[in-house]
Symmetry: C2
Subunit: 256 residues, 2 copies
């Protein structure tokens, strides 16, 4: 189970028009994992609506949650009350993982839209892990993936200028959506500019300006009316825009 997750060349995909960067097996992988959990564990399904809190920082850790549908943000909070969005989660992602170590959740997990989460008791999950190694593998992959994602976020936060971070955010969102088998060229953000800015470490005005610049360069397009929908004619153009934006400010950086 350790190998060949990123490159799964074996399976031919039914979904035809996905961009090349996405492994075709991704939607199946997620669906398979959800099926596995359904079959292995007692699950409590919860429908949530925008603004609902799935689990709250400080609460006693009992359950892990798996996103079946919808979009969720992870919000960390300092003692002084500074709020920070530290993660975004989609179908197949797990919520509450940072509660395992300390016996209480470290972040709020908040729904950004109507969706469904599955609650699993952690003690029951551990039983299932021992009975079915595939469950163990699924859990480990979820945690490991979140770690890797966090590391990439830190890389962006620390090394990219604002425009590039916003472009990277859109690419990340598009990748996630298309990995779940949905079309990525017309994405519907469930976040305000303020939330995006918070997640990316900048103000809402800077987000807005970055999006305007991207629209002006025709990297993205806004439909008539709603500025929350974003058309992405070509995902590759986002990457190019990122590189242009970051090359402008950072000629070279060496750690030593």
């Amino acid at each position: 189970m350790t190998s060949a997750a990123t490159f799964a060349p074996t399976s031919a995909s039914p979904s035809a028009s996905v961009p090349a960067s996405v492994p075709p097996s991704a939607p199946q992988r997620i669906a398979g994992m959800l099926k596995l959990l359904e079959d292995s564990l007692p699950i409590h399904r919860h429908v949530v609506h925008a603004g609902d809190t799935v689990c709250q920082a400080g609460q006693r850790f009992v359950h892990l949650y798996i996103v079946n549908s919808g979009f969720f943000k992870l919000v960390n909070m300092s003692e002084e009350g500074r709020e920070q969005v530290v993660g975004l989660h989609f179908r197949g992602d797990w919520l509450g993982l940072d509660g395992i170590a300390g016996g209480q959740y470290g972040c709020d997990a908040v729904a950004m839209d109507t969706g469904e989460v599955w609650a699993i008791r952690y003690d029951a999950l551990l039983q299932a892990c021992i009975a079915k190694p595939a469950v163990l593998a699924a859990l480990h992959q979820a945690m490991s993936r979140e770690l890797a994602r966090d590391h990439d976020s830190m890389l962006s936060l620390c090394t990219l200028p604002a425009d590039a971070r916003v472009a990277g955010f859109l690419r990340y969102w598009a990748d996630n959506v298309s990995q779940r088998g949905l079309r990525a060229d017309k994405i519907m953000l469930r976040m305000t500019r303020a939330e995006i800015g918070n997640y990316l470490g900048m103000t809402l005005e800077t987000v807005s300006r970055a999006l305007s610049r991207m629209a002006r360069s025709d990297v993205i397009r806004f439909p008539e009316k709603c500025r929350r929908d974003i058309h992405i004619p070509e995902v590759g153009a986002l990457t190019a825009f990122m590189q242009r934006a970051s090359a402008a400010a950072a000629p070279a950086s060496t750690l030593h």
Copy 2:
């Protein structure tokens, strides 16, 4: 499943006033975990020296590594070659966790000093997890703790001004050192100003200035000679300095 309302009045109360207290059992917990792994698994011990790479981004994921002694940094790298320190690791921490999901490591783990790491084959670890639930618990706690730490890092990066981030870094280092049973009032940084700055998302000059200001306020002291050693008369003063520095720039931040 609590619902809605971003501002539940209950959330303000939970005990936040603990000044980074150290559970007295921390050194025992770590020693116990190392003992457990020793007894449960075939382990390959490796002595490393400053600059040695324990595992490298892109390498095929086979082993996890546990720090027995020494200090390690996790370095993430973008396609364009921007390097970013995304984590610091001490005795009892695990290295290579972000490789589980993708079949290859996501970061370099680099020794910052002479030390010893234990290599464990991941497949063997999975066997041991099934045989001994305590091993499973140790692994999950290590991953969960790293997730929580990453979230805290993002909170700092996005919400704190440079001075407060540097103070927070020192407090973090001191906490880790003292959790391992070493004295925390005289810490010996194994990092250059450039490495600290990279980790904290700022330049080496800014780190230097922040340290100078702290020394001027007598929050820290430099011994004669070596500017890499730092005396911390009172760890609480670091927290106070952090709050002063962050209050200066951020009167209030609301997500909505």
